[in-house]
């Protein structure tokens, strides 16, 4: 660890960004090798928030382990829970009622919007503009209020259970979601006025942190990061789960692969999510919200893998079951982990300011990387 202090033999400055640093959104630790302001090497050091969720899950039952996954990518906790529930349902071949599927998809998309809202504000803050953060939170707060009313919590909801959802929708749900959509649509133009169109912002983002299509695939990137480089990777389109195959929405693709493309992909994705919610909100079928399941869930012997699209990319849940009530081995393929590995490739030769901008567009959530 000697070389992390001071300079190396070539006279390059070695600087620790993190684990407590305003731009790393948590406890990411990057060791930068700088020549002046130019970045020569980026080395991530992980583990500051490692809770070994995979090991914890080995001693939790199939009902209990879902709640832990909310703590991985806490900004899309619904979708994490959804992935776990889907894996268990796939393994046990539980038929999920239509109503539950609709509710789940609406919740997923609302979570996605909320997550992107936070990303938008935080990324603008990385670039030095504080105001967008608060404006983003105005809309995000509406979503968390909706979540609170129906699910009972604002961030780590634990609303999905194997076989459906935990409780039925709140009677106000549809009304609230509709008023949110209205609010969102009236405020969306402000995002462009305040940030997207700004010349300083565009200069900071365009042509910075370029990730080519080949590299995006090779680095295992997924989600908006890969889609900005032109990789078709939306799991909702490619391997549709729940009722995504019946929905009309576009997979947003860009080919530039730079920070601005990643930014635009996320902005447009929010609107696609709104589109999905609009399609579903009036058509939630009546019926059961939860399938009848046994009190103690036992997965058959075997290996089960489920991929879902979280706000950050592809989340995979890999369960190895020995036939008992707890998983033998569980692995979460987290999107942030792979996206982070592409960071060094993106920012080599750029300035410190670009590192912050590129990292902002990767939308890293550190507990998701460390697990």
């Amino acid at each position: 660890m000697v070389e992390e202090i001071g300079t190396n033999t070539e006279g390059d400055l070695i600087i620790n960004v993190g684990p407590q640093h305003p731009a790393t959104h948590g406890v990411l630790h990057l060791v930068l090798t700088l020549s002046g302001e130019t970045i020569k090497k980026v080395e991530p050091h992980l583990g500051y928030i490692h809770r070994s969720i995979e090991k914890m899950c080995e001693s939790l039952s199939y009902r209990q382990f879902i709640y832990v996954t909310s703590r991985m990518d806490y900004l899309s906790s619904h979708i994490n829970n959804h992935a776990c529930a889907l894996t268990v349902e796939k393994a046990m071949q539980i038929e999920v009622p239509q109503r539950a599927q609709y509710i789940r998809v609406i919740m997923d998309e609302l979570t996605r919007i909320a997550s992107h809202e936070l990303w938008w504000g935080a990324m603008a803050m990385d670039l030095g503009a504080f105001t967008p953060f608060f404006h983003a939170f105005r809309e995000r707060e509406t979503i968390t209020d909706i979540m609170e009313k129906t699910c009972g919590a604002r961030l780590t909801m634990n609303y999905m259970v194997p076989g459906g959802v935990m409780v039925d929708l709140h009677p106000d749900f549809q009304k609230d979601v509709k008023s949110f959509i209205q609010l969102y649509k009236s405020k969306f133009e402000e995002y462009n006025e305040l940030v997207t169109g700004n010349i300083i912002f565009q200069n900071r983002m365009k042509g910075i942190g370029i990730l080519s299509k080949e590299d995006a695939i090779s680095y295992g990137c997924s989600g908006p990061v890969a889609r900005a480089s032109g990789v078709h990777c939306d799991i909702r389109k490619l391997y549709p789960y729940e009722i995504y195959s019946q929905l009309e929405f576009d997979e947003i693709l860009d080919t530039a692969g730079d920070s601005f493309a990643r930014y635009m992909v996320r902005l447009k994705e929010m609107q696609q999510s709104i589109r999905i919610v609009e399609q579903l909100i009036d058509n939630i079928p009546e019926g059961e919200f939860q399938a009848k399941t046994k009190a103690v869930l036992k997965l058959p012997k075997g290996e089960f893998y489920q991929r879902v699209e979280t706000a950050r990319g592809e989340l995979g849940v890999y369960i190895v079951s020995e036939g008992g009530t707890t998983p033998y081995r569980i692995k979460f393929r987290s999107p942030g982990f792979s996206n982070l590995s592409a960071l060094e490739h993106m920012v080599k030769g750029l300035k410190i300011g670009d590192l912050v901008a590129a990292m902002g567009t990767l939308d890293l959530v550190i507990p998701d990387i460390d697990r």
Partner: protein, 158 residues
């Protein structure tokens, strides 16, 4: 041509900056857009969703009776070991031994408000309360006894 592009660049740049300033200027002059909630002051009007999960409580009726049979379903369902149920055996008037709870121990400091215990409870004895102001100066105060002193099982609940 070069000069024309140069001027165009400068014009576009200034315009985009002014657009942003117009927006912040709008919010500067429109104070009704402010969304701040002044939390400790608005306690009286603070409306929490009825499903909000703040802590686990056991509901007692006016006769100081609860519905907990001490079946430990919640204890098994809890992922964190938040709940510990200590049972005792009452002697009924007929001389039979009957299981009843002695203490329902609830470790608030371990609880993640996942709602699994409430879901698991067969008699709806416990529920989630909306209290969210949990901070105390002494950590041992977070370990709570949920059944009130002298309370007993409501008649007719098995």
């Amino acid at each position: 041509m070069f000069i024309k592009d140069y001027i165009k660049d400068v014009y576009g740049a200034v315009k985009s900056l002014l657009t942003g300033m117009r927006m912040t200027g709008y919010y500067f002059t429109h104070h009704k857009e402010i969304i701040t909630e002044q939390y400790p002051d608005n306690r009286a009007t603070l409306h929490l969703a009825e499903r909000f999960r703040g802590e686990v409580v056991m509901s007692h009726d006016e006769n100081n009776e609860h519905a907990c049979t001490g079946c430990s379903a919640c204890e098994i369902a809890c992922p964190n070991g938040t709940i510990k149920i200590i049972n005792k055996f009452d002697i009924t008037p007929e001389g039979k031994k009957k299981k009843a709870i002695d203490t329902f121990v609830y470790h608030l400091e371990l609880c993640t408000m996942c709602n699994l215990c409430v879901q698991a409870c067969p008699t709806d004895a416990i529920k989630m309360a909306q209290n969210f102001e949990h901070s105390v100066y002494d950590r041992s105060k977070l370990t709570k006894k949920l059944n009130k002193d002298g309370s007993k099982l409501r008649e007719g609940i098995e």
